[in-house]
Structures are given as structure tokens and as C-alpha cells.
């Protein structure tokens, strides 16, 4: 076998074939995995996660109730669910609280109990929260109300997911 003839030996031919096919097989196995791992990272922070909820002009120092809808994807089932937020402003800051009691998930209301004005009150087991959402000692909840991830663009409040504190 001379160099000039550029002949490929049987052994070389087989190993090229193996490399080629093996490469494809490896790629086929790895690509979906890599995509699966990277996709959420590429998608996170997408604008679609935020929903327009209120106009900044409508906000006061007093928490006000705003209802909105979000699309929830639950495995194979996509549904629209309503959500509520208690939103108020404090100086230049805007705070949007989740109404879900951190005890067992009932819905709290602002200033709803005569004995406890200017607090969030849960009618189920008398849980109470301060305006800031901080849970009041000696009531059932053990952590503050969740806050909504929030963005303000062009005078409109957009809410994202809730954040545990």
C-alpha cells in the first residue's frame, strides 16, 4: 500500500464509519438534553410573564383590591385563573401584596374587621397582617403575605409571580 495511491485500509474505513455514526448518535442523545437544560434559562424574564393590572394613577396610600387573570399551564392543561392583589403606594414606592393567607390559603381582606382596623384580616382563623404584609404575632400565620414581582412601565403596574418572604 503506497502513500501516493491514497488508499484507505479496511480498518481505517471501518473506524471512519464508526466515528461518523457514533457522532450522530451522540449528538442525537445530547442535543435534546442540552436544549432541555438551557431552554428555561433562555426563556426566563420573558415579558409575557407579567400581566397589566392597574394604572399608577388609581393607587392610593390605602391598599386597594385589583383582580386580574393569568394563564396557568398545568402539565397538559392550560387554564385561565383569576388572581387578586392588594396594591398601595408609599411615597414613591408601590407595593403589591398577595391576598392569600399564609396560614392555610384563605383570602384576606383589608380593613375588614371592626376590632382590627387598618390590617389585613383572614376570616377563617382570624389571622392578621400589618399593612406591610407582616404577620401579627399570636395569630395563626407564621410568615408575611407574599409580594408580587412587579414592574411599572408607562404608568401601568405589571405583576408577575409571587415571592415568599
Amino acid at each position: 500500500m503506497s502513500e501516493k495511491e491514497h488508499k484507505v485500509s479496511r480498518r481505517q474505513f471501518l473506524s471512519y464509519c464508526l466515528m461518523g455514526v457514533g457522532g450522530f448518535m451522540a449528538a442525537a442523545a445530547v442535543t435534546p438534553m442540552a436544549r432541555f437544560a438551557l431552554d428555561p434559562a433562555l426563556e426566563a424574564g420573558g415579558e409575557s410573564d407579567y400581566v397589566s393590572v392597574a394604572s399608577v394613577d388609581d393607587l392610593t396610600e390605602e391598599p386597594k383590591r385589583f383582580d386580574f387573570k393569568v394563564t396557568v399551564e398545568d402539565a397538559w392543561y392550560e387554564s385561565e385563573q383569576s388572581r387578586t392583589a392588594w396594591i398601595y403606594r408609599e411615597g414613591n414606592e408601590i407595593i403589591a401584596l398577595s391576598p392569600v393567607c399564609t396560614h392555610l390559603g384563605c383570602t384576606v381582606n383589608w380593613d375588614a374587621n371592626e376590632d382590627h382596623p387598618n390590617q389585613f384580616y383572614c376570616p377563617c382563623h382570624h389571622g392578621r397582617f400589618e399593612k406591610s404584609g407582616k404577620n401579627i404575632a399570636n395569630t395563626p400565620p407564621t410568615r408575611p403575605l407574599d409580594v408580587y414581582d412587579m414592574e411599572v412601565r408607562d404608568g401601568t403596574v405589571y405583576l408577575g409571580r409571587t415571592i415568599q418572604r
Binding site: H103, L104, C106, T107, P123, C124, H125
Partner: protein, 158 residues
């Protein structure tokens, strides 16, 4: 809480806080005004879902009590009483039956606990926003009924 495995875990952990069961009463009828009956069931379901959302931590939403309209009155009543008994003896001190079927009002006095009857409205052709307003209005009247019931002692069962 809802009748799902996920929320059952939550219930089992927090049993002492959950003392109220709501049972939707839903008629099945294909002969007389079937669509009206469906609408009753639908409306009841919407209302019950909403009450559950408000009071999730104290209220357990039981699967609907369904009945064919021809079912004998006493038998139907007895069946519901059996449900009630089962729930009551397993820790639910307050039991609410919620329905749009006005037939239940005739036997209201014979029921072991509280009947809430809401005349059904067809939400079918309504705009979302308008339907929501109507449900909100209903809720404003219904929620105090529930919280007031909690102030009272549980009803005695015979």
C-alpha cells in the same frame, strides 16, 4: 380545599382547622328543561368554587351530590342525610348544602344543617366581565352567611 390528592395532604395535616364542608347539590334531568338543569349545576359549581377560593383554609369542597330528578323525595333526602352524617361524624362541624334547585327549599326544615339556595343565572351568553360582577355581587351576600354561621354553635344532629 378541594377533593384532590394534593389538597387532601394539606387537609390531613391541618385537620383541626378545617371544620366546614360544602356539598353542591346538582340535579340531572334530560326530560324537562335539560338545559335549565345544566345551567343550575354550572352556576352552583361556579359559586361553590368561589366560596372555596375565599375560605380555602377552613372549608372542604366535597364532590357534588347528584340526583336524577325522578328520584323519590324521601330517598334523596335520606341519601343526603347519610352524607351529612358521615361528614359530621368525621370532624366537620358545619355543613353547607349549596344548590340552585328550588326543590330543596321545600324540605329545608328537614335538613340537618344549612341550605343555601341561589337562583341560577345563565352565564353562558354573558361577557366575562359582566359575569364576574354578578358572581362578586352574589359573593358579597354569601360570604357573611358563612362567617356568621361560624359564630354560631354547630347544629345538633339527632
Amino acid at each position: 380545599m378541594k377533593w384532590t390528592t394534593e389538597q387532601m395532604d394539606m387537609y390531613l395535616k391541618a385537620k383541626e382547622y378545617v371544620d366546614t364542608a360544602i356539598i353542591p347539590l346538582i340535579p340531572v334531568d334530560l326530560l324537562n328543561d335539560p338545559k335549565g338543569k345544566v345551567s343550575m349545576g354550572e352556576f352552583t359549581t361556579v359559586i361553590v368554587d368561589e366560596i372555596e377560593r375565599q375560605f380555602r383554609g377552613r372549608v372542604f369542597q366535597i364532590p357534588a351530590f347528584t340526583y336524577v330528578v325522578g328520584e323519590k323525595e324521601e330517598e334523596k333526602l335520606q341519601r343526603l342525610k347519610d352524607w351529612d352524617k358521615h361528614l359530621f361524624s368525621n370532624g366537620f362541624k358545619h355543613i353547607l348544602y349549596i344548590t340552585s334547585d328550588s326543590e330543596w327549599r321545600k324540605v329545608e326544615n328537614e335538613l340537618p344543617d344549612m341550605l343555601i339556595w341561589i337562583p341560577s343565572l345563565s352565564l353562558e351568553s354573558m361577557e366575562d366581565k359582566y359575569a364576574k360582577e354578578i358572581i362578586d355581587q352574589q359573593m358579597k351576600q354569601l360570604l357573611p352567611l358563612v362567617t356568621n354561621k361560624w359564630q354560631d354553635e354547630p347544629k345538633e344532629r339527632l
